[in-house]
Amino acid sequence: MKAAVVSVPLRDWLFKKPEWLDHQTAVALTFAVKTFAASLLALYIAFWAGLDDPRWSFLTVFVVSQPDSGLVLAKSFYRILGTIAGVLVTIALVFGLAQYGELFVAAVAVWICLCNFAARAARNFGSYGFQLAGYTAAILAIPAALEPSGAYDLIVARFTEILLGIICAALVSRLIPVHELSPKLVERVRALTRRADSLATVLLDPAADRERVIAERTEFAKAYLEIQGMQRSPYFESAEARVLDQPLRRLTQAAVELSSIAEAAASHLGGPLPRAETKTSHGNRISQTNESSNEDGATVSALVRAADERDLGVARARLRESMAAFDRGEELPHPNLGCGLWSDPVPAVLTGIRSALAVGITSAFWFATAWPTGPTAVVVAAVLCSLLASLEQPDKISIAAAATVLIAAVPVFATQFYLMPLAVDFPSMAVALAPLMLTCGFRVEH
């Protein structure tokens, strides 16, 4: 542990980058170039290997790419798991039900419903894995069912192409100078501890501005949520990141404990023990302190205050101790807590039902009108519902997605109909694709 932490400055010195490379625009440009290079590599290998539809490898690179390498590797790992699950279900659906159209679509809808339920209930990249399992089945099963004779080849080809895209994205992400996630995570956790300390101070200050209290609380909760989202990904990054995992968790835990105790203490300061009697709805008279005397009320208040101060003192001391131990690179003998997060089943069930309905409605429209591009609409509805399953404010994001499609249609049209016909070989095709794909990469990072 000590060796790992001590070695970090040496590593920083060895791989020292110019400061301008950390500027947001430079980071976005690096990311765009790196992602485009990875996608071209995937496309080239797919052409060289004679894969059925190389664009899937190209597309996969953009789907899994993230500015931080730990995120790419974690995302790739869960994407592989999700894709494998999706492929297995596709095989079962296509070979079992492809000849029964309505039943097949109903089975796809049920599978997407289950996956999106799980995606909403799970967190972070686990959730992503479930999404993948859902929409991989939609993307593969519907075209395969329309052409049952070539179904197996199609499924194997898609799986190979997606796998190739994932490998290329992960490889380039590790080889080309990258943003590592663990230093960012360490920085965020340190900021969280400072924020916890400041939140505790503000909460216990009776003269503190109400708006400031709300702002501090909001920032703390959001910072914690962000750390939770990042905490599992560095595991895939390096041995050093894995060593830092437990100390960082302990530090986060100490920060949360301090802020929670401060919240409780602040709520006791804000009049938790009013002296007035309260009449409950069922007629019981409740004295909120000792009924008999004000003296007992004062005793209780003093005891509560003393207990809160003691707990706060212990929490602050634990945070300082954890911080100092982390700085020294030492292990603390605290037990490892395997805390589970809460999953609310009701929104998850609603998300699953919405997804199944979306597949059902678009399929009904397709069957009723015999629309030639109906399968595309079904696949898009399934994919979008999967993507929206775990997002906050999904209605706003789906409207943004529709607007993006409308706006992007123009440059995509220009690329496909004016630039691509000029391409005669692989390098010229890369040049034709460059303006659109580099812009996309740049925007993704932003």
Partner: protein
């Protein structure tokens, strides 16, 4: 590669239809409004408080409760971003739940003290068992009842603690835990009645 403009436009239309169906369903089929998110957040607080009452390893369970609550609060705030009233209700509920969790932890911790008065110990166990049932099926009326019982326990412990400094030391956790739990349950009633603005947050 085919360069067919009609096919391109058809595909674009199909994409838009797919997106439109998803948008309409997410916006109309039990949409996740800020009020819905706040209701679900409160429900989670209560359900998991019930688990906390029933657990045997109270110290680590409290830590896990604080952790999970903080994460859930962050996620709920992200969903109710534009609604200041929902944000205030979330904070009020979270502060009350954290205080109640700490009170439960204090009561449970005090039960382990061997020199605790048997009558107080059994009253505390009874209160926690009833609270666990109440949290499984929460109602304003039941919260009021449990609050009354918590205050009664606090009073009994205070009367028993009048014997001297040693008694106060032994019963401190029960007095503090019961009184704060009582006031938290009263505040929880107010939050359930939609009066979160009555609470300092």
């Amino acid at each position: 590669m085919t360069y067919n403009a009609v096919s391109f436009l058809n595909s674009s239309l199909a994409i838009l239809v797919g997106i439109a169906v998803a948008v309409v369903l997410f916006a109309t089929f039990f949409p996740e409004t800020p009020a819905f998110a706040v209701r679900r957040f409160r429900r989670q607080l209560v359900v998991h408080l019930g688990y906390l009452v029933g657990t045997s390893q109270c110290a680590s369970a409290l830590s896990c409760y604080q952790h999970a609550l903080c994460e859930q609060l962050g996620a709920t705030l992200a969903r109710v971003n534009d609604d200041p009233n929902a944000t205030r209700t979330c904070f009020a509920s979270a502060a009350t739940a954290l205080s109640a969790a700490q009170a439960i932890s204090r009561l449970r911790g005090s039960l382990g003290v061997r020199t605790l008065f048997p009558s107080i110990a059994s009253e505390t166990s009874r209160l926690l068992a009833r609270l666990s049932r109440t949290l499984r099926n929460p109602s304003i009326r039941q919260f009021g009842k449990r609050a009354a019982e918590a205050y009664a326990l606090g009073r009994h412990a205070l009367i028993a603690a009048r014997g001297g400094a040693e008694e106060i030391k032994v019963l401190n956790g029960i007095i503090v835990g019961a009184q704060t739990l009582g006031s938290d349950l009263m505040r929880a009633r107010m939050i359930l009645q939609g009066k979160s603005n009555a609470i300092r947050i």
